[in-house]
């Protein structure tokens, strides 16, 4: 088996005292692309944030393991250096720090002191990725996400993904707010990383993205749990028929995590 394995076991997560995830189980291996789908408010983004260690989310029960290592014991930066990456739905704006400086610091954070990436090599790699994602080269000298359009922010997340080459990436609604051309470019970037060492968890509530990135596994979340899993055909059925049939099958009336509140 190649690549890393991310295991999520019986994960319960609270935000401000309110339980959002109520026992999520999921395993992602290197080489696999998983899609987590579901209507709004079912806990998909919470799952992404909890894996990365967002300060507002508290794990109350369960485990997250990366190649057997306890991710929940790690700080956010340690998780990243262990091989995790989250393309965020709402990335922060950092005034005064150029995208280029930030990228270089991020790459060097994974390397030993004294073994920093040579400047010319970095520029070459960055320029190639910028071209591949059809991003204006000026973006590298602009302050990180400051004044970026929604589409630019998404592309910038994928730019980081391409340069940092993590073992396991989580993409949180990377398709939201993208027009079809931008969606194609972003998908192209993600597909380029596809190999037996790279695992990916794609969170979306539109099937649209999955027309460009074919998942190996599709999971549906409702009420803070994974309620159904299948192959790519599951996504197609959701596109054609919506979520009602799953709710009927499982006897769910309100799919959101609010239902107990």
């Amino acid at each position: 088996m190649a690549g890393s394995t991310l295991e999520i076991k019986d994960l319960h997560v609270e935000i401000e005292g309110k339980e959002i995830l109520k026992g999520v189980n999921l395993t992602i291996k290197g080489g696999e692309f998983h899609a987590v789908m579901g209507p709004n408010g079912t806990g998909k983004s919470t799952l992404a944030s909890a894996i990365m260690g967002h300060p507002k989310y508290e794990v109350t029960q369960g485990q997250i393991l990366l190649d057997g290592e306890d991710v929940l014991e790690m700080e956010v930066d340690e998780r990243a250096r262990a091989g995790l990456f989250l393309a965020m739905q709402y990335p922060s704006e950092i005034s005064g720090v150029t995208t280029s400086d930030f990228l270089r610091s991020s790459i060097n954070a994974r390397r030993e002191e004294g073994d920093e990436i040579p400047l010319m090599k970095f520029i070459k790699e960055m320029d190639e990725a910028l071209d591949y994602l059809e991003i204006d080269k000026n973006m590298a000298q602009r302050y990180l996400n400051e004044g970026f359009s929604g589409g630019e922010k998404k592309r910038n997340e994928i730019l980081q993904l391409m340069l940092l080459k993590p073992e396991i990436a989580i993409l949180d609604e990377i398709d939201s707010g993208l027009d079809i051309d931008a969606l194609k470019v972003v998908s192209k970037g993600i597909n380029k990383l596809r190999d037996e060492n790279f695992g990916c968890l794609i969170i979306t509530h539109y099937q649209r993205l999955l027309n460009y990135i074919t998942p190996d596994h599709v999971h549906v979340m409702m009420q803070g749990r994974v309620v159904k899993s299948g192959g790519p055909e599951l996504a197609q059925r959701l596109e054609a028929e919506g979520y009602d049939w799953i709710k009927e099958e499982l006897g769910i009336e309100d799919e959101t995590v609010e239902q107990n509140a």
């Binding site: 922060s92 950092i94 005064g96 400086d101 930030f102 610091s105 954070a109």
Partner: protein
């Protein structure tokens, strides 16, 4: 219980001090009159900071000689870092204690009539010019006790003059190196750009007296005549033992521009004011300042732009980082006088606090006496945003490095304005040292 002790300096002391410098009669008289005024004037009262307990009276006033430098290689590293080693500045003056240790000015500028020399030499060699501008258009002797004391006790400084229609392309750089840990610095900088001229000037203040108590009383007067353009950069880096009063004053006449990029990195208590008078129509000023406070230091920073001319524009930007139990007040004042129609006064003051005990205050003031104007202000006092740190750390950057990036980013809008690359780098290093 204000500290209103009588000065230990007598008329005779001032007379003798002036005589020793071979000063013209008018200067001696100005000093003596200032001394008298100092005894009756009150201390300045910076808004929101009480300085009545600050020690502005423990110092040794003299003309401390500094040894001449035959070469720049003899300098301590932190001063050498101010220059590009492979490309030494053409126009450089180093004042070591109270005397000139090194000075260079390009032949080209000399031929064009540019004056770049210490204030005492200037008083004799260019008496008319110095007399015309010294504490006339800019700072008045009788503003308060510290300006009067400044005039009475001035013991160093420089004079810059750019004649009409002369453009100075290469920056003029000055280092005020206070090597004697106890010598008080009453430094006067007078920069005059005559009509249609332009220049870039950058100064650094450095001292090494963490424990020895002394005082810095610094006045800079920056005069831009019609259609002149002055870019003025400064990094103040005086040690914890120095209590400082720093007053940089600009006067911009018709179509003139004065841009400030000021780094207030002193470790001692500091009153820092930067006031620009936009006297002429269409005059413009960008006043940018940053500060980093640490330890127990208190600072009060006032940036003020006063609009007299029509269609004048003033932009204030102040960013500060406070750690330990340091505290800082930013007063931002945009004042538009009656008649200054179509003027625009904008300001932004922000403080970032890095510890529980640090204090920051941003105090925006707009005083507007004319209807047909625009004005705006933004102010904030806060901590490092945990979501910014989360985002940076999610890429593998450590918390310490993430904080460093956020802080440098926060100060970048001013640091990046400094017109000399080596000074910019040195300021970055000073910031690094102060925040770590």
């Amino acid at each position: 219980m204000a500290v209103e002790t009588k000065l230990p300096y007598e008329k005779s002391y001032i007379e003798e001090f002036s005589n020793k410098r071979n000063e013209p009669q008018w200067m001696k008289e100005l000093r003596l009159q200032a001394l008298e005024q100092a005894n009756s004037l009150e201390m300045p009262k910076p808004d929101k900071t009480n300085i009545s307990k600050w020690d502005f009276s423990s110092f040794k006033h003299d003309f401390a000689q500094g040894e001449k430098l035959s070469s720049l290689t003899d300098l301590p590293t932190e001063i050498k870092d101010l220059f590009d080693k492979d490309n030494l500045p053409e126009n450089l003056l180093i004042q070591r204690n109270q005397s000139v240790a090194y000075s260079a000015i390009s032949k080209e500028l000399q031929d064009k009539g540019v004056i770049f020399t210490d204030i005492f030499t200037a008083m004799n060699e260019h008496e008319d010019l110095v007399k015309r501008y010294f504490m006339k258009d800019g700072v008045s002797v009788d503003e308060h006790r510290l300006t009067a004391l400044h005039a009475a006790l001035m013991n160093g400084g420089i004079f810059v003059y750019v004649p009409k229609n002369v453009q100075v392309e290469v920056p003029l750089q000055v280092v005020f190196w206070q090597e004697d840990p106890e010598a008080a610095l009453f430094n006067h900088v007078l920069v005059v750009a005559d009509e249609n001229s332009s220049l870039t000037y950058v100064e650094n203040y450095i001292s090494h007296n963490p424990d020895e108590k002394t005082v810095a009383n610094i006045v800079a007067e920056v005069i831009a005549q019609d259609n002149a353009k002055i870019s003025f950069g400064a990094v103040d880096n005086l040690s914890a033992g120095t209590t400082s009063y720093v007053n940089r004053r600009g006067v911009a006449y018709r179509d003139a521009t004065i841009d400030w990029a000021l780094g207030q990195m002193n470790d001692g208590n500091t009153v820092f004011e930067n006031i620009t008078h936009l006297v002429g129509d269409n005059s413009l000023s960008n006043a940018k300042a940053v500060t980093v406070g640490r330890g127990k230091q208190t600072s009060n920073m006032t940036a003020k732009i006063v609009h007299f001319g029509k269609n004048s524009e003033g932009y204030i930007l102040q960013h500060g980082v406070m750690k330990d139990s340091a505290s800082n007040v930013f007063n931002g004042i945009g004042k538009i006088e009656h008649g200054a129609s179509k003027s625009n006064a904008e300001q932004e003051s922000r403080v970032l606090m890095l510890s529980e005990k640090a204090r920051g205050d941003a105090n925006p003031i707009l005083l507007i006496d004319e209807d047909d104007v625009t004005a705006g202000h933004a102010a904030s006092v806060g901590r490092v945003d945990p979501l910014q740190l989360y985002y940076l750390m999610s890429r593998g950057i450590t918390q310490h490095e993430a904080e460093r990036l956020v802080i440098h980013g926060f100060l970048a809008p001013v640091v990046n304005q400094l017109p000399i690359e080596s000074v910019k780098k040195q300021l970055t290093q000073v910031i690094e040292r102060k925040v770590n």
